[in-house]
């Protein structure tokens, strides 16, 4: 019996560690929770606008094609709207920034990462994106210059200079910046896996079917075995 209790304790411990790794980023700071809905066309479109207006100044999302902005029902832009966005780029091309890698290195010291799968590539996903975008503060130790200190970035020193204008923003702008940051987090969470809503929808049917099938198989097993004494 003691061993059983130990087993349960080990099980409980692993559950705790699971959930911890889900909320904490590598810096070990608890992330802010982003209120996002990856099925909301409204929010994803707002996020797309933030992405093209702000992020795409430096970042690309090369796996997201302009055609995808029309095809994915969660975005569903018209051909005209996409033509305006893409300019001279082909419809099948990915969304790429005009900032060259060399210029980026010159200005920021490193090449900004591609954001196609960033929501999966960082612990915390959308929460992490939202937290970093609204995490620019003055370094309490006064070492890291303003605009490079981020509460949620591992090691706190970030090369990206406060894109949403969070540092020293006016109080009345807080809600707007927070909303914009959550919207772009929703957009990035969506494009990390653009078939995720279809996946979950199909998954409900699959699990429903399997539940019935398993029930039938269970009754069948009981029926077949009813004469076996064991």
């Amino acid at each position: 019996m003691k061993l059983k209790q130990l087993l349960i304790a080990v099980g409980a411990l692993s559950v705790v560690s699971f959930s911890q790794s889900a909320i904490a980023n590598e810096g070990g700071v608890e992330l802010k929770h982003a209120v996002i809905d990856v099925t909301s066309q409204e929010q994803i479109r707002r996020g797309l606008t933030v992405f093209t207006d702000v992020c795409m100044g430096c970042h690309s999302a090369t796996f997201v094609t302009y055609k995808g902005l029309i095809d994915y029902p969660e975005i569903g832009l018209t051909r005209e709207a996409v033509d305006e966005l893409r300019g001279d780029y082909a419809l099948t091309e990915g969304m790429r920034t005009d900032l060259s890698a060399e210029d980026a290195k010159g200005s920021y010291g490193k090449v900004p990462p591609d954001l196609s799968v960033i929501a999966y590539a960082r612990k915390g996903g959308a929460d992490y994106i939202y937290s970093v975008l609204t995490g620019f503060e003055h370094d309490p130790k006064g070492i890291i210059p303003d605009g490079n200190f981020n509460e949620y970035f591992p090691g706190h020193r970030i090369a990206m200079p406060d894109p949403m204008g969070w540092l020293d923003h006016d109080k009345e702008d807080t809600a707007q910046i927070e909303q914009d940051s959550q919207d772009v987090a929703a957009f990035l969470a969506f494009i990390a896996d653009p078939h995720q809503n279809q996946r979950r929808a199909i998954g409900c049917w699959v699990l429903g079917f399997l539940l019935l099938l398993t029930l039938v198989l269970w009754r069948l097993k009981v029926e077949v075995w009813k004469d076996v004494k064991h």
Binding site: L3, E26, Y120, I202, L217
Partner: protein
């Protein structure tokens, strides 16, 4: 249904040329199995199911996947791109790829349960020693296949995981350096490594399929063990595999698929345990991730490796921890098979299961002094378990085993 099928003319035609009827009889309808097998005996058929799923999904993935580390855009490579194209542009590519990725972990879950059952009920003992040894070969090939497969997306963890593991071979004396370069196809993990790992990732499952055939054949020669761990002599203690265990296995498949499909459709990354977060970052030879850990199913052995300050000793210990499984049937000489009737062994083997989970946890987490010590203690018990088996039968008072079931 099987009966009416076997009465058709077509079946008679096939039967005359292949003896299919005799095979079906000897392997299914007249294959005797103990009637007291519990649900722990379901994991063998589940492992076979997952193997088939992995091969099928893998064949389709290979139609679209491109093993090339050539740079495509920014940090991305042709290999990484092709995986993302599968996820985004191939019709239901996301389903096939998530089935394959979740399937890898599911394979290890069912196989570890299967091995644990064999340990607990003494299924490795006479006359099933070879059955067990073939099983250990399967485990090793599976781990190899999983390791090769993890390189293919060419993410950070693919690259650095492969770098760490191929480095290990370099620690071996004399042949180490040569072996390491042979595996990598060069002096560092790169494009040639990716190509040969893809080739091996396709080869290993074919080996698996063949050896699994041998495993099942060996099983059908010596027949299943049972929870009581006794030899069954009376006919009424046995039932035919079909329909009794086919229907029980089918029910098990239903339960398994519920879990499997939950992860495929709702949680394919499993909080970063099935597909690690860092593997969505493209491979970068110039930037080492802060914490390199293999996927969960290899972490127990990774902890054993890390528990020794000397690299060569660590590598040998890791190899030894797997190799010792081959010797298990000959280390444990107790006449009683099942842990149900071996009080000392029962405590030891349950502690061993916990020990492996602890080893896995230590290997997954970033190393701290405390975790390192815990890992070392767990490593010590891992080996102690096997060597204690040598002496346990000398003092263990086994409970009387039943005459029959």
């Amino acid at each position: 249904m099987l009966n009416s099928m076997m009465k058709t003319k077509i079946f008679a035609w096939v039967d005359r040329r292949t003896d299919a009827g005799a095979i079906i009889k000897s392997q299914l309808t007249e294959y005797p199995a103990p009637k007291n097998l519990n649900y722990m005996w379901n994991f063998g058929s589940l492992a076979l199911l997952v193997l088939v799923l992995q091969i099928l999904t893998g064949v389709f993935l290979a139609m679209y996947y491109k093993p090339s580390a050539a740079v495509s855009y920014g940090q991305y490579t042709v290999a990484f791109d092709s995986v993302e194209r599968i996820m985004r542009d191939v019709n239901f590519g996301w389903l096939i790829r998530y089935m394959h990725a979740v399937g890898a972990s599911a394979f290890f879950v069912v196989v570890y349960m299967h091995i644990g059952r064999g340990l607990y009920y003494g299924s490795y003992k006479e006359p099933r020693e070879l059955l067990w040894i073939i099983g250990v070969v399967i485990l090793l090939i599976m781990q190899g296949a999983a390791f090769f497969g993890y390189l293919l997306p060419w993410g950070q963890m693919s690259f650095w995981g492969a770098t760490v593991i191929t480095n290990l071979f370099g620690a071996l004396p004399v042949i180490g350096e040569y072996l390491q370069q042979l595996l990598r196809g060069g002096f560092a993990v790169g494009d040639p490594t990716l190509n040969r790992f893809f080739s091996l990732h396709y080869l290993f499952p074919l080996l698996l399929a063949a050896i699994v055939g041998g495993h099942i054949h060996a099983l059908h020669v010596v027949h299943s063990n049972n929870p009581e761990g006794i030899d069954l002599t009376k006919e009424e203690e046995k039932i035919m595999f079909h329909p009794y265990y086919t229907v029980k296995d089918a029910f098990g498949v239903g339960v398994f698929l519920l879990f499997y499909c939950y992860f495929v459709f709702f949680n394919p990354h499993a909080w970063g345990y099935f597909i690690e977060v860092d593997n969505y970052v493209p491979a970068n030879a110039l930037s080492t991730p802060p914490h390199i850990a293999p996927v969960w199913y290899l972490t127990p052995w990774y902890t054993i490796l890390r528990s020794f300050p000397d690299k060569l000793v660590g590598v040998l210990a890791m190899g030894g921890s797997l190799a010792i499984l081959f010797a298990l049937p000959f280390l444990d000489r107790s006449k009683v098979r099942s842990a149900r009737y071996r009080p000392v062994f029962k405590q030891m083997v349950i502690l061993f299961f916990i020990d492996v989970i602890v080893l896995g946890y230590c290997g997954h987490e970033p190393p701290t002094p405390v975790l390192k010590l815990v890992g070392q203690v767990a490593t010590a018990y891992y080996f102690a378990f096997f060597f204690l088996l040598l002496i346990v039968p000398k003092f263990e008072k086994t409970k009387p085993v039943p005459e029959g079931i």
